[in-house]
Amino acid sequence: MRNLFAFLKRFQIFLVFAILQVIALSLYFSYFFYPRSQYLTTASGAVAKVLEIKNSVTEHLNLKNTNTELQKRNQELLEKIPESFIRIDNYTVKINDTLNKQKFEYIPAEIINSTVEKRNNYFTINIGKVNGVERGLGVISDNGVVGVVHRCSDHYSVVKSVLTENINISVVIDKVGLFGLLKWDGADPRRGSVTGISNDIKIKKWSRVVTREGTGLFPKGIMVGKVEKLKEVEGEAFWDVSILFSEDYRKLQKVYVVKNIFSEEQNSLEALIPQDKK
């Protein structure tokens, strides 16, 4: 026993060193292999407080970068203001105006998936039944007509775009006032055509083609495109009007779904018209 004490005494320095070293290394390796253990790390309260104070000092060094980032973010937000404004104005707040009753509501949406290369192109937008979208509503963008809602789920909708075979949106050639149907031949996503315009009336090149309120899908006068070329169709009394779309569908992102508050009224009234018997 005495020998043992003598031994311990002789090597006490090394023993203390060894014990402390073992503690330190076991702490290190437990941290090394199980990094999720939270004690004795910067996640603990007092330490975090100190680092917070340090950060409050050093954050000024990054002010320039932070400012640039903020400015960028701010710009993004500013660009979004018109959209949010419309949502408030037309979607949640109803203005009781006795002379002008609101007829159209606009629901802002974003295209999350789209094609322009196929024969029939459908766009997916990020709003659905929950947001008040229904089948058959019109969709417009800032620059022109986009299409008609084709299908909708709770949170998404598929829009049958102008770039499909039988979109048949009713359009008017401005100034002249002739009605026609919008068609797309599947070749060029920038160009479409209007059929059903009789060729006894002259049409000026680059006259505007806008929507007609007729079917109640779109408000009156939403831009569709401009007349680019006129061609006579052989043996028929119609122009083949080639138009240049005002919207570039290849890079379209923000759209609005148009909701006609009176569409039901109009449809029920029009259902009373006796059908043609052919």
Binding site: I13, V16, L20, Q21, S26, Y28, K54
Partner: protein, 171 residues
């Protein structure tokens, strides 16, 4: 009493310096300067080795907590403290150390300090970087870190002494 006060202040000073300044530097190339061993170095000659070890352990642990390294700094600093008396003995002057002196560059002379501290710092840094990576396959990477960091730590330690440790210039 005075010694305790001075060394407590230095303890806080070195932990703060290391944690809030040298740990935050991003020099690149894996350089990670460590200056806190200077605190252990500057403890008086008369201190017993066991208290030296205990102080080193707790100082290392403090730095570990702030830099999320578990016990790595504590382990390295313990090694530093363990070797301090051995190295001091090897470099002792002919008639032993003057117990009233402080083992700083001012009181012990440049040559003595550079040798003693240099060897201890090499031990400390080598242990630290090898334990940090803990892979023999990355030997060259560790060596690169070590060779780049050592001179910088060393230079910083000497500069810090000129800046913060009051020298008795008259001597």
């Amino acid at each position: 009493m005075k010694l305790i006060a001075i060394n407590s202040a230095r303890f806080i000073l070195f932990v703060t310096l290391q944690v809030l300044i040298f740990n935050q530097l991003e020099i690149g190339l894996g350089i990670h300067p460590m200056v806190y061993p200077l605190f252990i170095m500057l403890l008086p000659f008369s201190i017993s080795t066991i208290s030296l070890l205990v102080i080193a352990f707790f100082m290392g642990l403090f730095i570990d907590i702030f830099s999320n390294t578990g016990g790595l700094h504590a382990s390295s600093l313990l090694l530093f403290a363990f070797f301090r008396p051995i190295i001091f003995k090897a470099f002792s002057p002919r008639d032993g150390y003057d117990m009233n002196k402080e083992p700083s560059i001012y009181e012990m002379g440049r040559q003595w300090f550079i040798y003693c501290f240099g060897i201890l710092l090499i031990i400390h840094h080598t242990w630290f970087f090898f334990m940090e990576v803990f892979k023999f396959s990355e030997f060259l990477y560790v060596l690169k870190k070590l060779i780049l960091t050592l001179p910088i730590s060393y230079l910083l330690v000497i500069l810090l002494q000129f800046l913060f440790i009051k020298g008795k210039v008259s001597k």
